[in-house]
């Protein structure tokens, strides 16, 4: 089965591209990025501020299972409804610094749409570290697959 979400991260580059096709009309996909209560649901975060407009900003806060709060924020550089959001993203109190995100929304058919998320990091090393976070978080999920592999190695 073809994967709905694809990641293109070439070696030695400080950027990556995430693409995803949705069984949703373009307007509904875009709304999921604009309405704070919807963002809260699918991102699993609290939305403290979300100003969806040029020169606007946003602030998210997630609480981990230990009760620690983690902040995320950014500013919005470009906002074209149903087309494009250009924004920065930063995890507060980490050494990752800020990243630049270009989100492009496109209509495929009346009922399907596509998101292209182009993320640019300050350095190649930082991009690879961000991928590692995903790796560590995803490790629990990946573990079953790994176990199957171990079985074969033995």
């Amino acid at each position: 089965m073809e994967q709905k979400t694809k990641i293109n991260a070439e070696d030695g580059r400080q950027e990556l591209v995430i693409t995803r096709e949705f069984d949703l009309p373009l307007e509904l996909l875009f709304k999921a990025y604009v309405e704070p209560d919807i963002v809260e649901q699918w991102m699993g975060t609290k939305v403290l501020k979300l100003e969806s407009k040029k020169h606007g900003g946003y602030q998210f806060e997630t609480t981990d299972p230990k009760g620690n709060k983690h902040g995320f924020n950014g500013v919005i550089h470009e906002f074209s409804p149903n087309q494009k959001i250009t924004r920065t993203f930063e995890m507060e109190h980490t050494r990752f610094g800020v990243q630049l995100e270009f989100l492009e929304f496109a209509k495929l058919t009346d009922d399907t749409s596509k998101l292209t998320m182009h993320i640019v990091y300050r350095s190649v090393a930082l991009r690879d570290q961000m991928l590692q976070i995903g790796m560590a978080q995803g490790m629990n999920l990946a573990h079953n697959r790994l176990q199957a592999m171990v079985g074969k190695l033995k």
């Binding site: 949703l24 699993g44 980490t94 790796m135 490790m139």
Partner: protein
Amino acid sequence: MESRRDVFQAIADPTRRAILTLLAVQALTPGAIADNFKSSRQTISKHIRILAECELLKPEQNGREIYYHINANKMTEVAGFIEPFRKLWDDRFNKLETIMKTYKTKK
């Protein structure tokens, strides 16, 4: 092959996976790592030693303290670099899709 199997065994333990998750965000001293767990410092030290022995963690001397950080190259070998990151986004987007489908029918 022997050391490779050790790597898989190393990450088969939930505490050791939790340690890796912690260290993905920042390098920490053994004490700081242990502070995040209810287990004794000795138990956590043992987990750290196992992770370091199969090179998933690298120690780095900083003054009098030793900081452990994740060895990216080794992690790549174990899990495949992109897949968990992709899965993370895939899960989020699946959720978005489900939510918006309900949203559509509610209208």
